[in-house]
């Protein structure tokens, strides 16, 4: 008998990074590493589960900027080059380690993984990984959801309702363009929520969103089941709260699984360990050392001494940890089951990019977990938020609490002494965009192109990644320059539009560079007050 449900949410997002002006870009490498080490390993796990008829469920959010990068032919071409360089390195590594019984099996493992990656990316899906996700979506086990268009941190953009509407509507529309249906759920960037934008979420046909624990726990009226049942929000959506136990088990610095001594050590990479004569040609042309993904050691212990990585032992550990995770869920739902008059739902959201990339064995762990859940027991059942809502439990009506999953739980990561200056610019730009969209309701040709590009530049400036990176302090000059460039380009377009003096050749270069969301429609930024007024007029006319 099912005593409780378990919903995994993997949130996948990268900011839109695309630099044709550089021969190689460190920032594009974030994306390439995520494809190789995270998205394709996940696809492999999901496909393996489907092939073996494992009754698993999971939810994958694909942020619109990530989708746009996966669909961009320039980045696909660059990834092909990146991957073939890694395959070349893999060959060299097999030769270099040929006589080393500890390392040569590892070099072979990496070579085989890269060959498989190339097969999936190039041959099976013709460079379009979204096809793999569409197949999985159709398979019925994986639920896909969207996020805000460029992952804007909505609570701090919310002074202009139009900015929130445009972020969410553009995200929903782009998802629909790619997958052919409206997503049921949305991942609010950084779980950033404010009751002020409930109405907008409801208007766009979404059924649910995911929140930080205290977003649901501190909802009002007080939620009877805490976070172990979703609540029904004023906008008519279901809000699902994050379970803190499942996140601690995976991410706690002290007792988290990824720190197990048998797992692969992230911080020992041949990009740092081998001589520049050998490895230099595989690093960035600026000569800086960086990760290659070839890592030969296990965590071993707290000291600097590291033993060679043993994949077999690590795999056994991953399956042991999966068993431990399931055991803890069984105990957890027993506990809450005694309190609740319905099976508790445990919602476990994670950043996808940490699986495979940082926790190398993470996808394997998830694979083992799905298999033991489907085979050896019937107390815990995996589910997606969408399927949970279909079970039809009545939901308590309650207004969630403003919150985020960032440090300290509210807005401070995105609003502090290092990055607070960005909001003056973001708010003014959004105000100007709404003025443009409202004043030019029926633009054509060049004017329309300029308005659409202005909307793109504003959305790009609004990414939560820029203030986040500025706070974290590494790569902050990149984040600042991206933010400022998009705002400068927006302001220049805005001026040219009002002055009826659009520099067409510059506009075309801008469109070719900041080229995400080709079908973006600037009307998304129209004043919401105006829209309501127009609709009322129509109503009056109809009467």
């Amino acid at each position: 008998m099912v005593k409780g449900y378990l919903a995994f949410i993997f949130h996948s997002h990268l900011p839109y990074v695309r630099h044709p002006e550089h021969t190689q870009s460190l920032e594009e490498k974030w994306f390439f590493e995520a494809i190789t080490e995270c998205y394709i390993p996940f696809i492999r796990v999901f496909q393996g589960l489907e092939k073996d008829n494992v009754d698993y469920s999971a939810t994958f959010s694909l942020s619109p900027t990530l989708l746009a990068m996966l669909e961009d032919s320039f980045l696909q071409e660059r990834y092909v080059g990146y991957l073939s360089r890694l395959q070349l390195l893999a060959q060299k590594e097999e030769e270099r380690t040929a006589n080393d019984p500890a390392f040569s099996p590892l070099a072979r493992m990496y070579r085989e993984r890269l060959d498989y990656t190339s097969y999936i990316f190039n041959e099976k899906y013709g460079r379009r990984l979204v096809t793999a996700f569409r197949e999985l979506l159709n398979g019925g086990h994986l639920e896909l959801i969207t996020s805000a268009a460029t992952h804007g941190f909505l609570p701090l953009l919310g002074v202009q309702k139009e900015a929130i509407y445009a972020q969410i509507a553009a995200g929903v529309e782009y998802y629909e363009k790619i997958f052919g249906s409206i997503p049921r759920g949305i991942w609010l960037p950084e779980c950033g929520y404010d009751p002020g934008f409930e109405e907008i979420l409801g208007e766009l046909g979404l059924h649910y969103y995911i929140m930080a624990t205290h977003g649901v726990l501190y909802a009002s009226p007080r939620p009877k089941y805490g976070i172990y049942s979703p609540i029904l929000t004023p906008g008519g959506l279901a809000a699902f709260g994050r379970d803190p136990e499942t996140s601690a088990q995976v991410w706690s610095a002290k007792e988290g699984y990824p720190g197990d001594y048998n797992y692969r050590e992230f911080y020992r990479d041949i990009g740092y360990d081998l001589s520049l004569d050998y490895i230099g040609e595989f690093l960035h042309p600026n000569g800086l050392r960086s990760n290659t993904g070839f890592k030969y050691y296990s965590i071993t212990g707290p000291e600097n001494h590291k033993e060679p990585y043993n994949p077999q032992k690590a795999l056994e550990k991953a399956s042991e940890h999966a068993g431990n995770f399931l055991f803890n869920r069984q105990k957890q739902v027993e506990y809450y089951g005694e309190i609740m008059d319905r099976p508790p739902l445990v919602v476990a959201p994670y950043d996808s990019e940490l699986f495979g990339h940082w926790w190398f064995e993470g996808p394997q762990w998830f694979d083992s977990l799905c298999r033991i859940i489907s085979q050896n027991q019937d107390t815990i059942k995996m589910i997606t938020p969408g399927k949970y809502l279909e079970l039809g439990y009545p939901l308590q009506v309650s207004t969630p609490n403003a919150s985020s999953w960032g440090d300290k739980g509210y807005n401070e990561v995105w609003l502090n002494g290092k990055n607070d200056w960005v909001y003056r610019h973001l708010h003014n730009a959004a105000k100007k965009m709404t003025a443009l969209a409202t004043n030019f309701p029926r633009a054509e040709d060049i004017l329309k192109d300029a308005l659409n590009q202005a909307a793109r530049e504003l959305l790009l400036a609004q990414s939560s990644d820029w203030p986040f990176i500025i706070t974290s302090g590494t790569m902050d000059s990149y984040a600042k320059s991206r933010l400022m460039s998009h705002l400068i380009r927006f302001l220049k377009l805005e001026r040219q539009i009002w002055e009826n003096n659009i520099d067409i050749s510059w506009l075309r270069h801008l469109e070719a560079t900041d080229n995400l969301f080709p079908h973006l429609d600037y009307h998304l930024f129209q004043s919401l007050n105006e829209t309501i007024a127009v609709e009322k007029d129509k109503l009056m006319g109809a009467v």
Partner: protein
């Protein structure tokens, strides 16, 4: 120059410091703190200087912070923060979670009469604990509710925190 380069696309331009528009914007940071930024445009400054025959630097500027009462029927309290003429943003220790706030930007006339120039949007501080509002149709027996909230908060917050907050 590569047509996708910053040099070409940004054309050597910089972000403006200000937008030439009077504005006062209020944002919540967390249950206890607010952030505000503002702009008093040049024409407004010049008008005020002309009207009062005072240099802008000599104005006694202040933010007046209003807190709404619990059921939002009116403003229950206010306090002023004196600011200098070259600031353009401020962190405000609002202190009370789960409340609406609104601020005014203005200056003191002689005899400390506050003259308001700009009024902000309304911003709400988030709750930092369980809501006191209970729907009687959605209520657990007390001892069960304690078991539920205790375990959730054990990890998210320390149990001491939740117990302190419960009282």
């Amino acid at each position: 120059m590569h047509p996708s380069s910053r040099e070409f696309l940004d054309g050597g331009e910089h972000l403006p410091l200000y937008y030439g528009e009077d504005q006062l914007v209020l944002l919540p940071r967390d249950p206890y703190w607010l952030f505000t930024y503002w702009e008093i445009s040049m024409p407004t400054r010049q008008r005020l200087e002309f009207e009062t025959q005072n240099k802008w630097e000599a104005f006694k500027l202040a933010l007046r912070v209003h807190r709404f009462d619990m059921d939002n029927s009116g403003k229950e309290s206010q306090f002023d923060i004196q600011i200098n003429s070259f600031s353009d943003n401020w962190y405000i220790k609002a202190g009370v979670p789960d409340r609406k706030y609104q601020i005014e930007f203005g200056y003191y006339l002689p005899e400390n009469v506050f003259q308001s120039l700009l009024t902000s949007n309304i911003a709400s501080t988030p709750r930092d604990r369980l809501s006191d509002v209970i729907d009687e149709n959605w209520q657990l027996p007390d001892w069960q509710a304690r078991r539920l909230y205790w375990r959730i908060s054990r990890i998210n917050l320390s149990s001491m925190e939740i117990l302190a907050k419960e009282r």
